[in-house]
Amino acid sequence: MSRDRTPRTLALILLALLVSGQFLPQWTLFLVTVALAKGLVVLGLMILLRCGLVSFGQALYYCIGAYAAGMLGRLFGASDVFTLMLAGMAAAGLVGFVLGFLLARYRSIFFGLLSLAVSMILYGLLVKTEALGSTDGFHVLPSTLFGLRPADAWVRYTVLAVALLVAFIAALLVHRYLGTPLGRLASAIKDNEIRVEYMGASARHAIHVKYVIAAALAGLGGALAATTVGHIDPEMAYWTTSGEFIFITILAGTGNVIAPFLGALVFGVIQTVAFGISPNTWQMVLGGSLLVVIVFLPNGLWSLFRGRKAA
């Protein structure tokens, strides 16, 4: 049994990015920050995937988080980045808690499709809500940090630093959670739920808890994305957004809490590069790389690291 090296690796990555962030060009900062936001969502999906559940509606919480952050700024003029993120997380977590009572009863394809239906309900509502900008969405006010507004040149870096910090804490907590008995129940639920029940554990309760965690993480990611991009629209709840998250989850693999962020970054790079080279066929490149990963790396990108370590 080797020592747990994940926290140390996480801290090293955090430091490396914090330092190198000061020298990188602005657009890479943006790319990394958006990747971190998506990574948070995927982190939640990873928890669910470990029990064999694939949510095709995680965009629901992503969107709730973003809209909660945006509305808070719009209605109350709140602009502190941590307040916005907490709001997004709380709103998504709350909705996840309520919906969890229903969704925790479903498995496999039905879980996926029901979550899809719920996210499409939100999409349908937002598209028809004139007050919230309908299909155009609305702009999010530039955010501040503890009441301070960073100088223009430093905005991107500050947001990145905040995102890094938040992602670091989230990853660490999730890592700890996965080590607890409740967290370790995941693979048991995936293998055979009835045996889990015979053991005296409640699969439904475990899934409910995981679902709320995943929802809160997605809300956090959504709020972060809203402050980074500065604009939100109903497209964030559309099923293609959920598809993107699933895509990253599969790309990353469920091996470790670092994997989702790595996957999101790789996804962002593929998307940006493919879009830059051929604007009309970037979807094809994405689809192709998804196929390649499923066929050749069934456990995701993370298995590359694992494989080398084992050898």
């Binding site: 009863r105 039905f110 499709l113 029901l114 055979n192 066929t281 689809g287």
Partner: protein, 267 residues
């Protein structure tokens, strides 16, 4: 086949595009408009017979051993690829073929004007549904197919050519999607987003009906259609969301859809 197939949306779009462009080209060459219905059907047949076996033999057949959800993702990847293929072939500008629609004119029901073409749509849909039911229930191929879906291994042991059955099923299913697209093409403008929209709608339909159930799918389609029209009529804001609300409600009370097939618990 126990496959939740996202590429179905692509076949719908492919059928629509093929129908729109082929019919349009033939009409421009002076084909009598009355023949266009046969051309619609023919173009659907053409695309699905070419593209579906290519996908099934080339990619999907290596994937059947994988998890249901993973197969769904594979079809999603294929869907992304096909979307761009469609854009590459037909570009991003909308296509219109109004001739088959306009040719028949319309009639009045009470105060409402109703195009005859929609009757054709209904006819085609009923014919396809009845044909499918007949094929599955009364022909040798159909019965073999049901057996394969029920238990692949035993079917193989009984000497059924499972690979070929899979190929037939996938092609036939895709053909139905393409026909749907081809016959809808005259009533809408054919644009790239066609596949994305239809696939979530059809998911709602099959989930409401119960996955893998033919009468369920028919009932689901009717329900979705009625609910949607009612929503457009009474409460236009709720158009999109009402469909998924119905889907969520049905799943909340009948977790596997209305006409679900009972499944044994595995211990």
């Amino acid at each position: 086949m126990k496959i939740v197939n996202v590429t179905h949306g692509s076949f719908y779009a492919l059928g629509a595009y093929a129908a729109a462009s082929i019919t349009g080209a033939l009409l421009a060459r002076g084909m009598p408009p009355s023949l266009s219905y046969a051309v619609l059907l023919g173009s659907a047949l053409l695309v699905s017979v070419i593209v579906a076996p290519l996908i099934e033999r080339g990619i999907l057949r290596f994937m059947y051993a994988k998890d249901e959800v993973v197969i769904l993702l594979i079809t999603y990847a294929l869907f992304l690829i096909l979307e761009d293929v469609i854009k590459m072939i037909w570009g991003v500008n909308p296509y219109f073929i109004a001739e088959p629609y306009g040719l028949l004119g319309s009639f009045d029901v009470l105060d409402l004007t109703y195009p005859y073409y929609n009757l054709i749509l209904v006819g085609v849909a009923i014919a396809c549904g009845a044909g499918l039911a007949w094929m599955l229930g009364s022909t040798r191929t159909g019965k073999l197919l049901v057996a394969v879906i029920h238990d692949t291994e035993v079917s193989r042991a009984m000497g059924i050519n499972v690979d070929r059955m899979y190929l037939y099923t996938f092609t036939f299913g895709s053909l139905l999607a393409a026909i749907g697209g081809a016959f809808t093409a005259p009533t809408v403008s054919v644009v790239p987003a066609l596949g994305v929209e239809v696939i979530v709608l059809s998911f709602a339909v099959v989930v409401i009906g119960g996955l893998g159930s033919l009468p369920g799918a028919a009932l689901g389609a009717v329900m979705v259609g009625l609910v949607r029209s009612a929503a457009i009529h009474y409460l236009p804001q709720a158009e999109l969301f009402v469909i998924y609300l119905v889907m969520a409600m049905v799943l909340a009370f009948r977790p596997r859809g209305l006409f679900s097939i009972a499944e044994a618990r595995k211990i």
